[in-house]
């Protein structure tokens, strides 16, 4: 009990520190315990507390091939992101990439992305963004990243006691709609989850957010409610998305939603610009709005620490 109280108090103090760090643009960390977010500190501290924690990384929206004013050198900023990965004090178990690897689905763009990301020497689990499946049959992406996946590239795997599910919500989009999972994928998800116990921590990752952030810009997934309904029985669900090129978080019941930064260019906060297109910021500021994400996971503790670190600042 004393320990709990101490923990709680320390949590509050750390929360204050966290707020300051957020303002300073340094890095944000949340831990989740039964779906309730608590601040616990920055990377080093989380590691010290949970020496047996395994961690994985999330990269998103590399947009290799993009060369417009918002960032004429998307290759360079992805290299910097991988530099950050390689400089981590403890090697993560693997990486997920939540899509828009390429800008125009060109083989040369995927080649460059693979070459740069390969420098991390980590296994990478991909899901496609809409920029990765511009060819009609989505063959370029699937041949490269989806050989053992189902349908348009969805799959699941187990790691560190958690169940990871990569979903595809960027194909067969309907006019007037948002992201789309579709009946086939939902049926597969139901079957995939059927044999898992409620105490299994679940990590779902997909490109477009699985909760509606801003419908006017299509920032949501029209049939995500059905997927989230299937996840209700689980005590710890973490949803990791990209697409909107900025960090946003929401907790609903036992489900924590997080969107990640891009490694290529920022996009405006919902409704603050005429369109969700690439946002040009001062050159000196660019690396403060791009970044990587580390997720620390403690088996059995049902809490994940999500740490978003910008490339600089």
């Amino acid at each position: 009990m004393t320990h709990d109280a101490h923990d709680h108090e320390e949590g509050a103090t750390r929360r204050k520190v966290l707020e300051c760090m957020t303002w300073a643009g340094t890095g944000v960390l949340w831990t989740l315990s039964g779906g309730i977010p608590r601040s616990t500190g920055l990377i080093g501290e989380a590691k010290a507390e949970d020496s047996k924690a395994f961690s994985f990384l999330q990269l998103s929206d590399s947009h290799i091939g993009f060369d417009k004013p918002a960032n004429p050198n998307a290759n360079g900023t992805l290299m910097e992101a991988i530099g950050k990965v390689n400089a981590l004090p403890a090697k993560p178990s693997f990486m997920i990439h939540t899509g828009d690897i390429s800008h125009l689905s060109k083989p040369a763009e995927f080649d460059t992305a693979d070459q740069i990301i390969g420098q991390s020497r980590l296994d990478v689990h991909y899901v496609p963004g809409e920029h990765d499946v511009l060819d009609d049959d989505r063959k370029i992406y699937l041949d490269r990243y989806g050989k053992s996946a189902k349908g348009a590239g969805w799959y699941s795997f187990d790691a560190g006691g958690a169940h990871f599910i990569g979903l595809v919500n960027v194909v067969d989009l309907k006019g007037g709609g948002m992201g789309n999972l579709g009946a086939d994928q939902l049926a597969w998800l139901q079957a995939d989850l059927a044999s898992r116990t409620a105490s299994t921590p679940i990590v779902v990752f997909a490109h477009i957010p699985l909760w509606t952030i801003y419908a006017d810009w299509g920032w949501g997934t029209q049939d995500s409610e059905q997927a989230l309904g299937m996840l209700k029985k689980f005590g710890s669900v973490t949803v990791l998305n990209g697409h909107i090129h900025q960090v946003m978080q929401k907790v609903e019941g036992n489900v924590a939603f997080h969107t990640a930064r891009s490694t290529a260019f920022p996009q405006p906060a919902p409704g603050t610009a005429p369109s969700p297109g690439p946002m040009k910021v001062e050159d000196a500021k660019l690396r403060t709005v791009l970044g990587i994400r580390q997720v620390n996971f403690v088996p059995g503790a049902e809490r994940l620490a999500v740490i978003d670190t910008p490339l600089a600042g």
């Binding site: 417009k68 004013p69 920029h131 006019g175 007037g176 948002m178 969700p276």
Partner: protein
């Protein structure tokens, strides 16, 4: 003489008919894509008109018929796509990458 005159007149009529048909053929109708919006959102044309879309955004877009009867490939910045409307009707279309982008062509 008469024969030659008639022939010349027939040729003139033919030439003027060609001219008339060229004048009737409508000019291409431009639609621009700016800030994730098709402009104009509603375009009125006559049968036989070719609509030419141009993507002015830094992000690729597509132009896809709501009934999936025709569609463009991905249009990068500055790319164009043309489609000729040969039947009257109202044709809704959208961007399959950003499906909140919707517009229509009305053919009379």
């Amino acid at each position: 003489m008469n024969f030659a005159f008639n022939c010349a007149r027939a040729a003139l009529v033919a030439v003027s008919l060609v001219g008339a048909s060229a004048a009737v053929k409508a000019a291409d109708m431009p639609v621009s894509i700016d800030n994730f919006v098709f402009t104009p959102a509603e375009t009125q044309i006559t049968v036989g008109t070719t609509v030419v879309w141009t993507n002015n955004d830094d992000i690729p877009h597509t132009v896809v018929d709501a009934d999936h009867k025709w569609k463009s490939s991905a249009l990068d910045t500055g790319d164009k796509f043309s489609h000729t409307f040969t039947e009257p009707g109202t044709f809704d279309y959208f961007c399959s990458l950003h499906p909140h982008m919707m517009a229509k062509i009305i053919v009379k």
